[in-house]
């Protein structure tokens, strides 16, 4: 009887260990196989975001090619800054990171280096609630930032309120996500704006 009980326990441990090992091996294999692909996707996403924030049209061209021909990456103590080398489309882009509702939000902001007005805003990463906060990704919300000045704070207004010249309509039902965006655009971007000013002086 006792022997049977011990046998049963050993069996339990053995099966659990076997299943865990099989699962780990499988996932390790899949991870290995897809690692480069996921990395490439991420890089492509960054490049597309930079180009889009700087209003550089892609057309039918590969984003990688356009990026390498028209963008210069500068490393600053604040982080990387992407400079457009195209004289007709002057612009600098940087990614500002701040907290969001569920996880960090990373925003690629493109600005005109002379007037310091926003050329474009792209969301690189966000984990906001789908259908609510996640709508900060939608063109309708992001396009409102175009042409706004980085010199004065950009404020979020709820729908129906009378917006000033530098105000943006918040995402309905996502007051907090909109507030987080406001903080990222106004506060977290500041060091980068300083860095851009410094670059111009050089």
């Amino acid at each position: 009887m006792k022997e049977k009980a011990i046998k049963e326990k050993i069996m339990m441990v053995l099966v659990l260990v076997a299943v865990s090992i099989a699962s780990s091996l499988m996932l390790a294999g899949i991870n290995d196989f897809s690692y480069d692909m996921i990395k490439m996707n991420k890089e492509r996403k960054l490049k597309v975001a930079v180009l889009s924030a700087l209003e550089i049209p892609l057309g039918n061209r590969e984003p990688e090619k356009v990026f390498s021909s028209s963008i210069k990456r500068i490393t600053t103590p604040e982080g990387p800054i992407y400079l457009s080398t195209d004289d007709r489309q002057k612009g600098v882009a940087f990614s500002a990171k701040g907290s969001g509702f569920w996880g960090p939000i990373i925003v690629m902001v493109g600005v005109d280096p002379e007037t310091l007005t926003i050329k474009g805003v792209e969301i690189l990463q966000q984990e906001e609630t789908p259908g609510l906060g996640a709508r900060i990704e939608e063109d309708r919300f992001r396009n409102q930032f175009k042409g706004k000045s980085m010199d004065t704070p950009i404020r979020m207004m709820i729908k129906g309120a009378k917006p000033g010249p530098n105000d943006v309509e918040a995402v309905a039902g996502a007051t907090l996500s909109s507030k987080f965006m406001e903080e990222i655009i106004n506060e977290k971007s500041k060091p980068f704006i300083e860095a851009v000013r410094r670059l111009d002086l050089d």
Binding site: V15, L16, S23, I30, S34, L132
Partner: protein, 204 residues
């Protein structure tokens, strides 16, 4: 329910209407409330969940004679989690756009009680063909209910269907439908209607 006499067709079809996981058994409500404000997200979520139900039911059914009863729950969890991580990595690698949309919810497939429910109540006592069909039926039932909910919530909440505008500018979107409480309301109506048409028998 695990009656050996049930035909394969019955096993498959009962998950869709008669034993619909969401509308009849009220399982997997968490993900149902979360993703059904957009049709596209619902489709992606249903496909992911169906894939995980089928794969885990098949594996558990194949392994059912080796799994010691006392550790069956952790083993089910490991198996389910493996397939969920697989779906997550697959979406990240091949469909980064969908992954971006429903990424946070893919991990939550693990906690969908429909999967554990099928594993415990059906796959652990039936052969792989029956378990696979049962899982496929339940997955189809889950898909049907998500689509049924999203088809009401997206037009009312955003004025769109699959992202295309169906209701014009005159339509003032109901924020209520975008938020989880709106799903409760629609879900309640569906359960009510379905119970009226097809009463649930209380006999065992």
């Amino acid at each position: 329910m695990t009656d050996q006499k049930d035909s394969l067709i019955t096993i498959f079809t009962r998950g869709i209407i008669k034993d619909n996981p969401t509308f009849r058994m009220a399982l997997g409500i968490c993900s149902t409330l979360a993703v059904t404000n957009k049709v596209a997200n619902s489709i992606a979520m249903s496909l992911g969940t169906t894939f995980v139900i089928v794969c885990s039911s098949l594996s558990i059914s194949l392994m059912r004679s080796f799994i010691p009863r006392r550790v069956r729950m952790p083993i089910y969890t490991i198996i389910i989690a493996t397939f969920v991580v697989f779906v997550d990595i697959y979406l990240k690698a091949f469909h980064p756009d969908i992954s971006k949309q429903i990424g946070p919810y893919v991990g939550l497939i693990i906690t969908n009680c429909i999967i554990m429910g099928r594993a415990e109540s059906f796959a652990s006592g039936n052969g792989p063909i029956r378990a696979g069909l049962d899982a496929l039926g339940v997955g189809a039932g889950y898909t049907v209910s998500l689509l049924a909910l999203a088809s009401i919530r997206e037009p009312l909440g955003f004025g769109t269907y699959l992202g295309y505008t169906v209701l014009g500018d005159w339509w003032e979107p109901w924020l209520f439908m975008v938020m989880p409480p709106g799903a409760f309301f629609v879900l309640g109506v569906y359960i009510w209607v379905l119970r009226s048409i097809l009463p649930v028998s209380d006999k065992p």
